[in-house]
Assembly symmetry: C2
Homo-oligomer: 349 residues x 2
């Protein structure tokens, strides 16, 4: 038994008539109904890896395991040469998330940090929305990624893929809402964020993608192909987005490497966490820019070449959020996350 | 054709087996699917009625009529002897709301107010949620109240009424979510709100009720009965809630009188706008406190006595919100709205 949201369609689907996808794909389904999905990103921003602040963060993370449906530990190169260690927790129950915020050591530590008296930065970005504003795709159903790590979820084959507009069609709400942004966001790189605790309100219908790559099982030719071909195409695409934020609607882009939570060794697993001004701008890049077409065609071709033996897995999950003010930054570098794009900057007392 | 959200029930309904309501009641239905409902309250807080600030506010309100599904003009006695004029706008389309915020003169005026340089207060409280967190009841279907003023809505007979727990059962999300609050909110009356623009983040699952009374068509005995009996019971109940905020979970309570938007004359129409820490606390008062039982029994008895000739109409609409930070106060009295209950107070730059 699975449950999904569905609206009687008012807006036309993008799916071309008679479309048959070139490659099989899967999507996440929920066993039981849920009203709010939550991805909770909580990070420490350090001058470099290691040291007592990192140790403390990891200790708090380990002590906060009860509550989330799934947790991950990730690392990213932060702005201005910093390193960010990210604790990611997924929840299919919003009350469980509130209890975790209220009781768990890690969010408690974050909320008590004195921004004027810490030797590092820290941030907390909560993505929460109704499942009608959520969509996923997986190239292989055998692995649990993202929200798929929560109990009560499964990957199911689909055919809403392989055409431009498929991601939009997978959002239940797209049947009734064009998810159009209103207004333009303006960038500023000089936010006085050091020594302060700031909250950012993001605009209505901001789209946030976590797009994953997993090549742990890859060996031989496939490993070489991933590390020498696909990965560089991916990085080129990401550099294009990061270097052209205004044109592409890219508000924030982080390349995260998954860590083994026990040994802290990097896995052969990465994901790109990207905040976009709107779903339309993300689609525009995917549909028309050569850097995405290169990634897309490579993935299709690799699947065709290796078939079921394909050992590099790609997937993503996207949410389109209502207007929200759940991104908070403590003593961070001014270009961290959504700080440069804050239409409204809120100082937390 | 109507549309509604429904979840396969995981939690038991409160409805007693074989329940037949003592009085007929109606509820709001939507013709078309919608993903977010919005009630936008924008007010000016004045030392007294009249004067150029009020005139300006009314002029801006008149110039902001395009966009909302419905608008109302209301007046309330504010804290510390102030008077509040409230512009209330309902939207069934969240993008239309964003456009209104972006383009309409009234919200533009609000967002440009300099808190250090205004001779009045102003506040803006936006209630926005998925329709799964919304419920209504009407004692008479012939009038359009609240969200019922929007095109594409209708009142439909129901039998989910007349027992304690019926309001909860009417929330589609209650089938899968107990809507339990996490943590307690703490009151403080000394927020330094004068001269500042402050945003309040409210807790997860805060319940907000707008409970209406309409006696414009009432004459003779029914008019006397309303003004001398039911109204005083209502005011006694409201005084109890206001005087016992911590015990009852009452965060804010305003008694609003509807004004004719052209003549500004008060109508024989009032509504109570109440913010509660949780739905459970609101239910607790309704189920067990003598001040509510007096109102409830009076309404049932009046309907039984006058039948279809009953000319006093009562109704309410309730939302239970996810954690949100969409209440903003400019140079307001410290006890305005949610200010005294802010777990997190955000200074807007």
């Amino acid at each position: 038994m699975t449950w999904s949201v569905e609206y009687p369609r008012v807006l036309p689907a993008r799916r071309p008539p008679g479309h048959e996808p070139r490659a099989p794909r899967w999507t996440l389904v929920l066993d039981a109904p849920t009203s709010l999905l939550t991805a909770d990103y909580l990070a420490i921003q350090l001058p470099a890896r290691g040291g007592p602040d990192e140790d403390r963060f990891l200790e708090l993370a380990r002590a906060s395991a009860a509550g989330p449906g799934s947790t991950e530990l990730l690392v990213a190169t932060g702005p201005e040469g910093t390193v960010e260690l990210v604790h990611l927790a997924y929840f299919t129950d919003p009350t469980a998330h509130e209890r975790w915020l209220h009781d768990a050591p890690l969010p408690g530590w974050f909320s008590r940090l004195d921004p004027a008296d810490v030797g590092f930065g820290a941030w907390h970005e909560v993505l929460q929305c109704h499942p009608d504003r959520f969509e996923t795709i997986y190239s292989d159903p055998r692995w649990e990624f993202g929200f798929g790590g929560c109990a009560g979820t499964a990957r199911e084959p689909m055919t809403t893929n392989g055409y431009f507009g498929a991601a939009r069609d997978r959002f239940p709400v797209s049947a009734i809402d064009p998810l159009e942004p209103v207004g333009k966001q303006v960038r500023r790189d000089d936010v006085a964020s050091r020594g302060r605790r700031l909250r950012v309100e993001s605009g209505h219908d901001m789209a946030v993608i976590r797009s994953g790559q997993f090549w742990e099982p890859a060996e031989g030719e496939q490993l070489v192909d991933y590390e020498h071909n696909l990965q560089s195409k991916l990085l080129t695409g990401m550099a294009h987005l990061r270097d052209n934020p205004a044109d592409t609607g890219t508000l924030s882009l982080r390349i995260l490497t998954s860590l083994d939570p026990a040994s802290l060794a990097p896995r052969r697993e990465t994901s790109v966490l990207g905040h976009f001004h709107s779903l339309g701008e993300l689609e525009e890049w995917a549909a028309s820019h050569h850097t995405h077409l290169a990634i897309y065609e490579h993935a299709i071709e690799a699947k065709r070449h290796w078939g079921d033996a394909r050992s590099v897995v790609t997937w993503h999950e996207v949410v389109v959020l209502p207007r929200t003010a759940r991104s908070e930054y403590v003593n961070c570098v001014p270009t961290t996350g959504l700080l440069p794009w804050a239409p409204t900057l809120l100082t937390v007392e």
